[in-house]
């Protein structure tokens, strides 16, 4: 266990950035999102949740897959180079880190997504414990411990100090790189902080949310055919906010961009809330917003767990609770089914 | 008449007049109150400029007989404004003689709103002598 005074954070970042690309929560006109660090950005480690989850450090909102260039009637194709430089994502929360585990089960199983895999290999996670969990948080419902986030290095912000605890080999390596700035310390203060976080988590409004009737054991068709969906979806605007702020949503679309002299094929996040999601030549297999709305939550709470040994593809970060323009969210879905006898 | 090119251009520049627009109607001469005293008549100013014969214009009596009353400018149907041409010719003569007591850019400061333009023109003439 090491520590560093907050005053020296800038030096720490600077040192990390010498050998790695560095992503930190950055505030732009009040909105905090992960972004590349440089000396001019306004780092914000106090805001609990970034608007977007940090998943796009590993799975960017859009990325080029390959480029075609045209020369007369000839085409040449250049695949995009895979990520080859180490990068550090500093300040991911327990839920965000767990979100990657959800993505891993999608992108790292056969067929492996090489773009994602390369980023996972080169990505070093410095996770930050949540000293002040907020009302929309319910990570504990999915067995996540906000006081002890996974990652390569765990850090704690306590008072004027940041405590640094390398967990993995990658973490050790990073620690070596920045050791000059770190001081040795014991774990007493960190243990105190953990207890304090746990106490707050127990008082969270959603901490007792029950997942009974969902997950691996859910009766799929009962849930699918439930009339409750009809009532739930109506305010939905069909925007993509919930999916784009979510740390676990992994759907993407592949599109071509005509640059004039060729084409860049890129992929970008898609949202199952959109009417043209999975649009095919014959049309769309989900024709109503109710079906699209149902898809999102069935996927998070039923399909994904049933395909992945009971692992939910929700980590309880509560971003959808905070950001839905019409006040809809996964908690309301779970509660509605609970009220309706879970069918 | 090779001497004239620059001067003719200068006259066009100073006056802002395109003498090619003249359709030779003679309304300027018909209007001019100083017609009888002029050796070169207002409608001829245009031809002299067109023919680059600025020397003759400069040596003419007309140059100093023009009252700058602007009747020809007012009446000209083609926007040719012989009055402006003669005025420009006058300026050229004055400048050449180096008797330019006032520099053009000093004038605006000396102007007041009530001062008639004609006075200014005749002032130029008077100071030359």
């Amino acid at each position: 266990m090491y520590k560093i005074n907050k005053e020296n954070l800038s030096a720490l970042f600077s040192l990390i950035a010498e050998a790695n690309e560095l992503y930190v929560p950055v505030s732009i006109n009040g909105a905090v999102n992960f972004a590349a660090w440089d000396e001019d950005v306004q780092v914000d480690l106090d805001t609990l949740k970034t608007v977007k989850s940090p998943k796009d450090a590993f799975f960017p909102q859009s990325e080029t897959l390959y480029s075609c260039k045209r020369n007369g009637k000839k085409l040449s194709i250049t695949p995009e180079e895979l990520s080859s430089k180490d990068f550090v994502v500093f300040g991911m929360k327990a839920c965000d880190v767990k979100g990657l585990a959800v993505l891993d089960k999608v992108f790292l199983v056969d067929p492996v997504d090489s773009y994602y895999k390369a980023r996972r290999e080169h990505g070093i996670i410095v996770s930050l414990a949540c000293s002040q969990p907020e009302e929309a948080c319910f990570c504990n419902v999915f067995g996540i411990d906000a006081s002890s986030p996974e990652g390569d290095v765990q850090v704690y912000m306590i008072g004027d100090e940041l405590f640094w605890n390398a967990v993995t080999q990658k973490g050790e390596k990073l620690t070596e790189q920045v050791k000059s700035l770190l001081a040795d310390t014991d774990e007493a203060k960190v243990e105190e902080e953990k207890a304090s976080i746990k106490a707050i988590v127990e008082r969270l409004p959603y901490s007792n949310l029950s997942l009974d009737g969902w997950g691996e054991d859910a009766v799929l068709l009962d849930k699918f055919n439930s009339p409750i969906w009809e009532e739930l979806y109506k305010p939905c605007l069909a925007c993509g906010t919930c999916t784009f702020v979510c740390p676990t949503c992994q759907c993407y679309d592949i599109k071509d961009y005509n640059t004039g002299n060729g084409v860049q094929r890129y992929r970008c996040w898609d949202s199952c809330m959109y009417s043209d999601f999975t649009m095919m030549a014959h049309g769309n297999n989900r024709t109503s917003q109710m079906q699209r709305y149902r898809q999102r939550f069935m996927h998070k709470l039923v399909y994904y767990p049933q395909n992945n040994d009971g692992m939910y593809s929700c980590v309880g970060c509560g971003r959808c609770v905070d950001k839905c323009p019409t006040g809809l969210n996964i908690v309301k879905v779970i509660k509605a089914f609970e009220k309706g006898g879970n069918k | 008449m090779s001497h004239g090119t620059n001067k003719a251009d200068k006259i066009k520049e100073i006056s802002g007049v395109n003498p090619l627009k003249c359709m030779k109607c003679g309304k300027c001469s018909a209007t001019c109150p100083a017609f009888d005293e002029m050796d070169i008549k207002p409608h001829q100013f245009v031809s002299y400029v067109l023919n680059d014969d600025i020397e003759a214009l400069a040596n003419s009596k007309s140059l100093w007989k023009c009252l700058s009353c602007f009747a020809c400018i007012e009446r000209c149907p083609r926007d040719v404004k012989p009055g402006k041409l003669i005025d420009a010719a006058r300026q050229i003569v004055i400048r050449e003689k180096g008797a330019d007591y006032l520099k053009a850019d000093e004038i605006p400061a000396l102007l007041d709103e009530d001062l008639p333009q004609q006075l200014l023109v005749s002032a130029f003439r008077r100071y030359r002598r």
């Binding site: 961009y257 640059t259 004039g260 860049q264 | -």
Partner: protein
């Protein structure tokens, strides 16, 4: 000309079929020169010009976009250019508001008889764009390579 490194802007000119395109034809038959940087797209009427076309041109690398139509009152379709005038006024104002140099867009009314005006306008516009330099504020970087 293209041998030296002089900036050669890409300029798109939308011309209505009835007046401005014919005006451009007249400029041509009168042999009135204007730079080859200007490329004309024929549209039936200035009211056919969608703001999306103009943004698209910038997206794909244009440095300036000019729209020409019949003089107000002379529209072949009687009212098209009046609508176009409002649309372009608002669009240009918005571009200026977003910090895009406001000389990059222009509207000029050119009749079929105004070949001279057409070529003068194009010369002026090209000069303006050359003085503004390459368009970096409104374009898609992917189209630059």
């Amino acid at each position: 000309m293209s041998m030296n490194n002089e900036f050669r802007p890409k300029i798109v000119a939308f011309c209505c079929n009835w007046c401005s395109y014919a005006g451009a034809d007249l400029a041509g038959s009168s042999r009135l020169q204007y730079p080859a940087d200007v490329k004309i797209i024929r549209v039936p009427c200035s009211c056919r010009v969608n703001p999306m076309f103009i943004l698209r041109a910038f997206e794909k690398g244009a440095d300036g976009v000019i729209m020409c139509g019949c003089h107000p009152g002379d529209c072949h379709y009687s009212t098209g250019n009046y609508y176009a005038r409002r649309r372009m006024t608002l669009l240009f104002s918005m571009l200026e508001y977003l910090g895009i140099e406001n000389g990059r867009t222009r509207v000029e009314w050119v009749s079929a008889a105004e070949g001279v005006k057409f070529s003068t306008t194009m010369n002026e516009f090209v000069d303006k764009i050359r003085s503004l330099g390459e368009n970096v504020r409104l374009g898609d970087l992917r189209c630059k390579d």
